[in-house]
């Protein structure tokens, strides 16, 4: 993978420019702060979980195009899912971005977020893509802070 267009696919650029679910939820049932001290990226994640289902989710923070787009797309895909389903997606996403680049990866169920499978070729950028997902896992399992 040797071009920007391959890594930063149109979908990623679009979410970077117009992040979905960007903002704060005043009274979240769950929240977490994700930090990547190496590059200074930061994400604050807020969730409303009712009857085991993610009713609402929003994020705020600053980061690179990959971390912002990943956060935006993560919030879209987990909204309306049960906590169990969301944690399963977290695991699938994590497995996808940490797999060896030469391997085929299972992007089943990941839908549009499979677009991030390309970061495997850029070890220094894997954490950018997974920061929001780690924050999600932290929030849903009762840890309020996640640091790379």
């Amino acid at each position: 993978m040797n071009s920007l267009e391959e890594l930063y696919q149109e979908l990623i650029l679009e979410h970077n420019r117009y992040p979905r679910n960007f903002g704060v939820i005043e009274n979240p049932t769950h929240k977490a702060r994700g930090l990547n001290p190496l590059c200074g990226d930061e994400i604050n994640l807020y969730l409303v979980v009712e009857d085991g289902t993610i009713k609402d989710i929003k994020f705020q923070g600053q980061g690179c195009a990959i971390s912002k787009a990943s956060a935006s797309m993560m919030t879209e895909i987990v909204k309306g899912k049960t906590v169990e389903e969301a944690l399963d997606l977290y695991k699938k996403f994590h497995d996808m971005v940490t797999a060896d680049f030469t391997q085929e990866v299972d992007t089943d169920k990941l839908g549009p977020v499979a677009v991030f499978s390309g970061v495997r070729a850029f070890p220094a950028r894997v954490k950018c893509a997974s920061l929001a997902w780690h924050a999600l896992e932290a929030a849903l399992t009762g840890k309020e802070e996640y640091s790379e």
Partner: protein, 413 residues
Amino acid sequence: MGIEQLVFDVEKVRQEFPILNTKVRGNKRLVYFDNAATTQRPRRVIETVKEFYERYNSNVHRGAHWLSDLATKMYEDARKTVKEFLNARSEREIVFVRGTTEGINLIATSFSRGLLKEGDEIIVTEMEHHSNIVPWQLVAQQTGAKLKVIPINDRGELVLEKLKDLITERTKLISVVHVSNSLGTINPVKEIIELAHQAGIPVVVDGAQAVAHIPVDVQALDCDFYVFSGHKIYGPTGIGVVYGKEKWLDKMPPYQGGGDMIKEVTFEKTTYNELPYKFEAGTPNIAGAIGLAEALKWFKQFDINAVHEHENELVKYATELLKQIGGIRIIGEANNKTAVVSFIADGVHPHDIGTGLDMEGVAIRTGHHCTQPVMCHFGIMATARASFAIYNTKEEVEIFVSALKKVLKFFRQ
């Protein structure tokens, strides 16, 4: 400057660095602008290390055989080369360590054992690398000493007037970076040292980013300690140097205990070896020291002022071209700077710039550069940093800038 020619030919210098011919990211020409992280090594250094392992490898100071004598002589000759490079008074003042970080940890740890008490004060600056902050925080926690900080201004220069206010009778040591790794600022260390010495305070100078770019003479500076890493001056990784005045090294207890740093060991009492061996416990990085000496000999062929001038031209040229691009802010605009251009771009995160440039074969560094207080001062999380060395050219600066324009266009579209 018109008629004055540089005393070195950049194209010739480039030929001595095999890695500069490496192709990256699908057959692209490598433009290596990450020299503040680590420089590349000339063939001579690589060959010297290889030759040592192939022909002379042995342990030093203790073998009863021909090879060990030879390795010992090569290792001690390397110390002599370092001594001459820094213009130290004697080899006793030259301690080999793993690098600048270990060097500062050595000084901080040993100095704190006996020479620091509760309520004492250590002064550093706001532009220090974390490796000149954290070791002092650690000893401050252990001894109850306090850390005080010389602030910087918005050009990235030290506000030296504040130093007079910071020095008190409890100030026991000042540790300051010679050249900032994230801003490129050259600090007026001689002035700081003069001021400190008027109050009898020793000064540590972190020379990691200085030795390959500006002249360094420890006697002219009159610093009490000077620390640098081999790999930032065209030598191997894992080798560095602590220069220390004998009067301080004598007063300080050893950093680590072990072999080579002792004269005699019984369970009742151990007598330490003389300088500099008191501070060199365990088998040292012998090949590293020999490789470093070769790098210093190689580097000394060139007039350091010409090297500085060449790198300054690159800094000026890059800064000028960057400023022509819209929405770029240079971080670090000291009047006296060298070899580093740090910047941020509106609407595009430094990480994305780094990845984008990498796709074009241009290697830079992005992030906080282990200087988070500097980032905090400028209200940013990270910068993109291009850093230059002796083998870089104006043509490479042009490749870098045109690649950057392409990257910014891609993200700003």
